[in-house]
Amino acid sequence: MARSSTSKDAQDLFHSLRSAYTATPTNLKIIDMYVCFAVFTALIQVAYMALVGSFPFNSFLSGVLSCIGTAVLAVCLRIQVNKENKEFKDLAPERAFADFVLCNLVLHLVIINFLG
């Protein structure tokens, strides 16, 4: 009884999460997908490094940190753009996007320099 309830609870949880998620606005979903894409790319790089060894360690670091960095910046963008977030009510989403673009450009400059 308990086992089936926990699994049923897990399923219910999953369904409720899914339905709640569909309610989120499209632009936030785009940002979420971007974050997933960045994280997956980082994971594949880590898997590659685990396979062949970390010889140009700076290149590995630069690649992984680029993905993680851009994911972090996207998360920040999501926070600022989300209308339900009371803290950033006064911040225009375009301004947040401009910040996101600027920070990404700076991040990628440093990444490319470190890539070697």
């Binding site: 997908m33 594949i44 010889f55 401009a98 890539l115």
Partner: protein, 723 residues
């Protein structure tokens, strides 16, 4: 003069060998090198220069060798022919046919360049080929037209010099072959001024008005050209112009450089100059000689520098390169006969005085090319011994003149003239009678002289002495002139004593440079000891008790060899005195073994073992296919992202439609794309600084455009919200 190794004998005590053979040679080699350097440095101040001799003439025939009967270019032909002409070697008949053909061809064709025509005319001046009429006329008119446009110093030189030569050729041919040619410069003063405009305040000249770089070589060319202009000018030029030129010459002499042995030379200041010191100095001398010859007021050049320049060229020796040879001989020919001052060189056929042979010391005075000097007298003012530099052995001795061989000689030396090294100081005094040319000599010529003689070796004896008591066990008298069969025996408790006396011919004490005593074991192990000299006596005491370890405990028969040598010693000797049986104790365990003597004595100079370098092992890189596979795998999340976007129903409907906003939006995206492209280029080939520079520009642009776009978007969305 024999140059003997000056080995410093001050360090070791008498009974210490320096080292065993291999180490000795290293030590001796180092001291040899330092001694030689020291000797050369000292001798640098006093050196002998020889005028051009037959050695030069025979070398010239080897250096200027035509290929298949003719030279590669007319310029080389000219250099070769001029050099051989100055040296007085007649080779013209062999080469004239092929070279003359070339000359005629070049002068006859109207398409030859100015340089070719120049060289052809030069060669013709020496060979005197038969040229037709038309060719030279074209050349002359071409040159005359060219001088008006010529901006280059070289072109002007060609024109002026060669027209001057044509004039002389015309007179030589005594035919009116060139009736229509007008060989004079129309506006000589204007041309003079245009050349003079190329001069610089430091005495050097520029090659052309466009080229800012200046050189001393160009200065020589300039003076040659100006000499040609002056000689071809129909009227006298303004003397103030010539005065300024003379000042320029004085400035040029300020930049002269010198070596320690008193030779002067001109060299270019810039490191990558195409002309070396020989060609630069030769060019300057040629220029000055022709300039002095062309103008009548006379040129005053510092005499010591002229002699220094002559010594520079004589000091070159016999150059191996044809151009250097030509420059050397041409410059010396200019110095031999010029209007300012003709240098005279004092040379000695031999700088060794042998006290036993009693031959006189001969001195020759001649011009640089070996011609006769005018009447003069040579005086030996001082003979400074290397031992006592202050007092002079000979003072103010006048040398006698032998008219048959044209040499000055000194046949009597004072009684206290001992063997050794001296520096003789000669002075030349020209007789007061008026000469056609102005001769100049060095104020004082210092010549290193070596006096040699037979050193008498007396009381040479070798003895084995008991060390405790000091009593002599066996003593033998030595005759060092023949290889004796002295046979001695000693054990490790005894000492070996060698002594002899060396005296110079006049009875002074003599300290030889080399006095070595060598013991050589049957197994080829050698030990060398120095014989110390104090006063007249030279003595060596070997205490075997202390030397046992150094001798590697090797008992047995040792051969004895004595070497006495010096530069001033005519009877240097190396004699095998005999042998000595040494009885040394047994070798203990820890004693060093004698070094292995290789059978081949020069094997140490052979190739050494090859060094195999160990390089850093490069890191192992993964297989190429694996990397490419992962490259493909990396792209997958991006594709997933795009697919997800399409599933979400992403659109670009809010892309602004009005043209102004559309343009700024496009520029915004374009700007971001450009920055990303810049990053790619940065990774591929640019460096950080270029990237940052470009990035700053793009960034400012992007800032403006982005601000515009985003504010327009914000305004649009605000309108939508409020509406």
């Amino acid at each position: 003069m024999k140059m003997v190794v000056e080995v410093d004998l001050q360090d070791s005590s008498t009974s210490d060998p320096i080292r065993s053979t291999s180490d000795l040679d290293d030590g001796r080699r180092w001291r040899t090198i330092s001694g030689l350097i020291l000797t050369v440095a000292i001798c640098g101040a006093a050196s002998v220069f020889q005028p051009i001799s037959d050695a030069h003439r025979s070398a010239a025939l080897d250096v200027f060798v035509p290929v298949d009967g003719s030279y590669k270019s007319l310029e080389e032909a000219y250099e070769a022919l001029k050099t051989l002409e100055i040296l007085g070697i007649d080779k013209k008949s062999d080469l004239s046919s092929a070279t003359c053909e070339n000359v005629v061809k070049v002068l006859g064709s109207s398409s030859s360049t100015l340089k070719d025509a120049f060289n052809a005319l030069n060669v013709n001046e020496i060979l005197k080929c038969k040229i037709g009429e038309a060719g030279p006329k074209d050349i002359v008119s071409q040159l005359q037209a060219g001088v008006k446009d010529a901006k280059l110093l070289l072109d002007l030189l060609l024109f002026c010099q060669r027209l001057g030569a044509r004039l002389s050729m015309k007179m030589f041919l005594q035919k009116e072959q060139f009736p229509g040619t007008d060989i004079s410069l129309g506006d000589a003063e204007a041309i003079f001024r245009s050349i003079k405009a190329l001069s610089q305040s430091d005495g050097r000249w520029r090659y052309s008005s466009n080229n800012p770089e200046s050189s001393t070589f160009a200065a020589g060319l300039a003076y040659e050209t100006l000499a040609g202009v002056i000689s071809l000018a129909p009227t006298e030029l303004d003397p103030s112009l010539i005065q300024t030129l003379k000042k320029g010459i004085v400035k040029l002499f300020d930049s002269i450089q010198k070596f320690d042995d008193g030779t002067f030379y001109f060299d270019e200041k810039s490191v990558d100059a195409s002309q070396g010191p020989i060609s630069t100095t030769a060019s300057v001398i040629r220029g000055l000689t022709s300039f002095a010859a062309s103008e009548s007021t006379g040129l005053n050049l510092p005499g010591d520098k002229i002699v220094g320049l002559a010594k520079f060229f004589l000091g070159v020796g016999i150059p191996g390169d044809a151009k250097d040879f030509f420059n050397q001989i041409d410059a010396l020919a200019c110095l031999e006969d010029n209007k300012f001052s003709v240098p005279l060189i004092l040379s000695l056929p031999s700088t060794v005085i042998s006290l036993t042979k009693k031959e006189p010391l001969k001195v020759k005075v001649s011009t640089v090319l070996g011609s006769k000097a005018p009447a003069l007298s040579v005086k030996l003012t001082q003979a400074l011994s290397s031992k006592s530099v202050d007092s002079s052995v000979i003072n103010n001795q006048e040398l006698k003149f032998d008219a048959d061989s044209a040499t000055y000689f000194l046949d009597s030396f004072p009684k206290n003239f001992d063997v050794g090294k001296y520096t003789f100081v000669f002075e030349i005094l020209l007789d007061d009678s008026a000469h056609e040319k102005v001769y100049i000599t060095e104020a004082q010529t210092k010549v290193p002289i070596a006096a040699t003689g037979v050193i008498s070796i007396e009381n040479a004896e070798i003895a084995v002495v008991d060390s405790d008591i000091g009593s002599v066990e066996s003593q033998k008298k030595l005759d060092l002139t023949k290889d004796g069969a002295v046979s001695l025996s000693a054990n490790h408790l005894q000492k070996l004593r060698l002594s002899f006396q060396l005296t110079t011919p006049i009875g002074n004490a003599f300290k030889p440079h080399q006095a070595f005593f060598k013991l050589k074991h049957e197994s080829q192990v050698e030990h060398i000891y120095l014989v110390k000299t104090s006063g007249k006596k030279a003595e060596l005491v070997l205490d075997f008790l202390g030397l046992v370890e150094k001798l590697y405990y090797l008992s047995g028969k040792y051969e004895i060899q004595l070497t006495i040598g010096d530069a001033s010693m005519e009877n240097s000797l190396l004699s095998n005195i005999g042998h000595i049986e040494l009885d040394l104790p047994e070798r203990p365990e820890k004693a060093p073994r004698p070094p292995l003597q290789s059978t081949e004595p020069y094997s140490r100079y052979g190739p050494k073992a090859e060094i195999s370098h160990i390089f850093r092992i490069p890191e192992k890189l993964p297989a190429k296919q694996l990397s490419l596979v992962f490259l493909g795998v990396i792209v997958l999340p991006f594709i997933g992202f795009l697919i997800g976007l399409t599933r979400l129903g992403v659109n670009i409907k809010s892309f602004p439609s009005s043209t102004g906003s559309a343009i700024s939006a496009l520029l915004f995206h374009g700007g971001i794309g450009a920055v990303l492209l810049l990053y790619v280029l940065f990774w591929l080939k640019l460096d950080l600084f270029t990237t940052l520079k470009a990035l700053s520009l793009l960034g400012v642009f992007l800032l403006f455009v982005g601000h515009r776009t985003l504010s327009q978007l914000a305004a649009a969305s605000n309108k939508l919200k409020s509406a």
